[in-house]
């Protein structure tokens, strides 16, 4: 009640300063510290998504390289040289093996880093429904469709989906920053 009345007072004060009450209301709501906390968590999630995407591109490069290495085309024995320079093919093969080893090292380092990633661990700690909502809203490729798919999948109304999402963001904030 006290917070509600203080918000009304703030709106009246800001109404005096700005002519549009809707804008004043928006300004007061945005000024609430909980939104700042949630924005901070969202920024951390976006950075985590960036790291995940980088990891996926490394994995894709590795898969393409393995496909090229073991497809049979590079190791086919026909008795005939593949081009005029017989050693050129061997050199390319060696280069590809070197690249494969470098990628494997990079992937192992990424894996170790991910295990100690704060956001990953925080996501592992919260309940799986909250995790699913956070993934759909911030980590998947189609965040615009998240609300619709969650509403139809869970049978919840949109305010309820937003309520669970916001509480999940608050839980993540508690884990990531509350004890700083």
């Amino acid at each position: 009640m006290s917070t509600e009345s203080s918000m009304k007072k703030e709106i009246q004060q800001s109404d005096a300063a700005t002519a549009d009450p809707a804008q004043a209301w928006l300004a007061v709501v945005s000024a609430d510290p909980k939104w700042e906390r949630r924005r901070r968590v969202i920024a951390a999630l976006e950075a985590y998504k960036f790291r995940l995407d980088a990891r996926v591109s490394l994995r894709d490069r590795y898969d393409v390289l393995c496909a090229r290495l073991y497809s049979g085309r590079s190791s086919r024995i026909t008795g005939m040289p593949t081009n005029h320079d017989q050693f050129a093919a061997d050199d390319r093969f060696a280069e590809m093996l070197d690249e494969k080893m470098a990628l494997e090292r990079a992937m192992a380092a990424e894996e170790a880093e991910t295990r100690l990633d704060d956001v990953k661990n925080a996501l592992d700690y919260i309940d799986s429904q909250s995790r699913m909502l956070i993934k759909q809203f911030y980590l998947d490729d189609k965040p615009r469709k998240a609300l619709k798919s969650l509403m139809s999948g869970l049978g919840y109304s949109s305010p309820h989906v937003y309520e669970i999402r916001n509480s999940a963001l608050d839980k993540l904030f508690e884990i990531l920053y509350a004890e700083e």
């Binding site: 295990r115 100690l116 704060d118 661990n121 925080a122 592992d124 700690y125 919260i126 309940d127 799986s128 429904q129 699913m132 884990i175 990531l176 004890e179």
Partner: protein, 136 residues
């Protein structure tokens, strides 16, 4: 039992199950480090592992004293992604009983846990429980 105490025990149960689930996938080296000595957690991972180990250590001795059916009930209610209300309805349907009966059973189990846990646990008691559970 007071409503605040019920909520407190429910929160502890949720922490216990969350902690247990988290420990199954947490980094082994961090778990080993946090079990080995009383260190102040410096990172988020260490803090989570410490919190999970502590939650398990505090509640496990009480849960072990419950009957199998009580354990099953609290696990169905609190180790789930759904809300307690949804779980209560599910349990009532599967046991051919009413939701009210399931709520009553839940309160009975929470009352048993309440009788097994001291109302306030001091830091020393928490450390003793931690040592008993993880540093045998």
């Amino acid at each position: 039992m007071e409503n605040s105490r019920t909520q407190e025990i429910e929160r502890m149960l949720k922490d216990y199950f969350a902690g247990y689930n988290y420990l199954s996938g947490a980094p082994e080296d961090v778990i080993r480090k946090m079990k080995k000595a009383l260190v102040v957690p410096a990172t988020v991972v260490e803090r989570l592992v410490s919190k999970a180990l502590s939650a398990v250590a505090v509640l496990e001795p009480c849960i072990e004293k419950l009957s199998i059916s009580d354990m099953q009930l609290i696990s169905e209610l609190y180790d789930s992604n759904e809300s307690v209300k949804h779980q209560v309805e599910g349990i009532a349907a599967s046991r051919y009983t009413s939701a009210r009966t399931v709520y009553r059973m839940r309160l009975e189990v929470l009352g048993k846990i309440d009788s097994l846990i001291p109302a306030t646990i001091t830091a020393e008691e928490r450390d003793v429980l931690f040592d008993t559970r993880w540093r045998k």
